[in-house]
Subunit: 384 residues, 2 copies
Amino acid sequence: MRRVAVIGVGVTPFGKHDRSSGELFAEAAAEALADADLSPGAVQALYYGNVVGGEAERQLHMGPQAASILGIPWVPTTRFETACATSHAAFRHAVMEVASGVSDVVLVGGAERVLNLPTDEATEYFAYASDATFEQPAGLTFPGVFALIARALMAKDGTTEEQMAHVAVKNHRHGALNPKAQFRKEITLEEVLASPKIADPLKLYDCCPFTDGGAAVVVVTEELARRSRRPVWVLASAAASDSMCLHDKKDLTRALATERAAQSAYRQAGLASEDVDVVELHDCFTIAEILATEGLGFFEPGAGGIAAEKGWTTLGGKLPVNPSGGLKAKGHPIGATGAAQIAEIVTQLRGEAGLRQVEGARVGLVHTLGGNTATVLVSLFGLE
Amino acid sequence: MRRVAVIGVGVTPFGKHDRSSGELFAEAAAEALADADLSPGAVQALYYGNVVGGEAERQLHMGPQAASILGIPWVPTTRFETACATSHAAFRHAVMEVASGVSDVVLVGGAERVLNLPTDEATEYFAYASDATFEQPAGLTFPGVFALIARALMAKDGTTEEQMAHVAVKNHRHGALNPKAQFRKEITLEEVLASPKIADPLKLYDCCPFTDGGAAVVVVTEELARRSRRPVWVLASAAASDSMCLHDKKDLTRALATERAAQSAYRQAGLASEDVDVVELHDCFTIAEILATEGLGFFEPGAGGIAAEKGWTTLGGKLPVNPSGGLKAKGHPIGATGAAQIAEIVTQLRGEAGLRQVEGARVGLVHTLGGNTATVLVSLFGLE
């Protein structure tokens, strides 16, 4: 298998937009191609991630639409959907296409637009990523899923609501440094704890927002990477799954798919969790960040909450997590999220993250989760 | 890149089912795994195709659900959607995963369930595969798209309504020989021509039906194939695109994406159109079969209709097309269609197609089209 690198990244501002997801993707893609110093005509395959475009925009078959908008309608396209892990899944398959020699230049990313919808409609569409037979009829939307996980962790490990609140405070502090974040406002621990209950014990500030946005990255061969300005190498890209329904999981306090994907990625790269300098991970709810930092092997089971409380995961801490602001503050345009996380890690490893730069970062990890912790992608990136 | 083979295929009966698409896929997958003499535990990756499950079944994120139903919830899964070409796209990526050495055994397929919906609702969801900005607001559903293409071909080449009707008669005759086909009833030329107009010049019997069903195939390495009962080799798998909207296409009488994908597939396999013995192609409307037989290089532009009229594409003719009955008679469960076409060609090359067997077939071609002729997949299969 050939070595693969990312040589261009692009992300739209996250927030509310008055454009279709196809146009948002095109904006991000144009930025990524310019960053890679490539014209659209250099693209040999387009990997496109979107989750609820059928429901929210009456648009399926988005790949050729995106290619048409970019002026490259002949390029083979594929649309991927694996709930919130969508564009990270697309990225993993794009890496396979380049590594296997099928293509030399793949444009991969995604976009989502939902903020024009009424909130209850967006909530309903997001819930389609949980099981329609057992969970949706019970009214189990995602805040409920993660509230159950939070309760299980609180009971088993002594994880506290204050520890979860620390995650929100940190990610808002980081997001305030990110010009493209949806929320660029710091918040206090007291504000988080006093915010309205959404699904007990989760409060408003424990939850990431609905977001419109697009993100794209350019994946190329080693040969093209060596001719580029500042390549970032893909050291590993791994996927793993777990049972679809909560009731089939043996232990809600274990992030099984995260553990499996992380072990697979570390093995591919010949690295261990201690080698990672900077992390973008899937904090759809604050408890998800705590659980992920444990599943990725950064902290012992039960210590993820303590790490947040002690500031180990903040910018300047021993392992900065979500310097972009994370899903919590940067925003969560579901089909774009994985690609945006990858864009952030590439930016960090290039040393171009400005006020939110993690100094000296040489190895970065991206973790993206789909559905009821059922799909997880983990990729590792590094400098030479 | 490693050689890749299909060693198992499974297809549910096509028609109306009272089960979810996930269950339909599982039924097909169990048949495919039994055919391959593998247990579900041997599967290393699951590639799942579905198009309108979000809209029709309130279910996204179907990959891990399918894995859970099959009792292999830990297997990495990806859902693909490229309109009607969905599970053929999934197949192409699965071939890449095995060819590149990432996995040795990939289960790939798809399913769809729409017949429980009111017809106007199903029509609306299918239309999401056309452009939401320009085409849907104009009321351009797919019968309209292919009626426009038919009119253009009639004007340019002298293609006739009778020639289109011959395609329907042939595919119903073939479908009557397929125990899993939705329509197992022969029809006459007169019945087709007298059937109600849907979108002039297309009549009811020029159109494929809505269908529920699932299909799956097992893709493996050369090493595993050599230990199997009757492997069929993947000689090529290619994708190509064309503009999303009809108004961006320079010539409605050219199947550009089909031409591009076919040329790419022939090049990969080192074969020409003359080498093909049996074809499953995308006859969502009778005119689509005529256009595809030209785009794939079997007949000169303008001669596709003549070929249908003269019986060259019937069982026993010089190049049997759609021995399964095609989408027209076998049915079109959109997310399952590509995998079902592949299953038919594998069955033909194994010599196990019973009454619809194409005698002595050694090379087979599968062509699947998505949306307004915007996405096309072409794969070639062969015996050793």
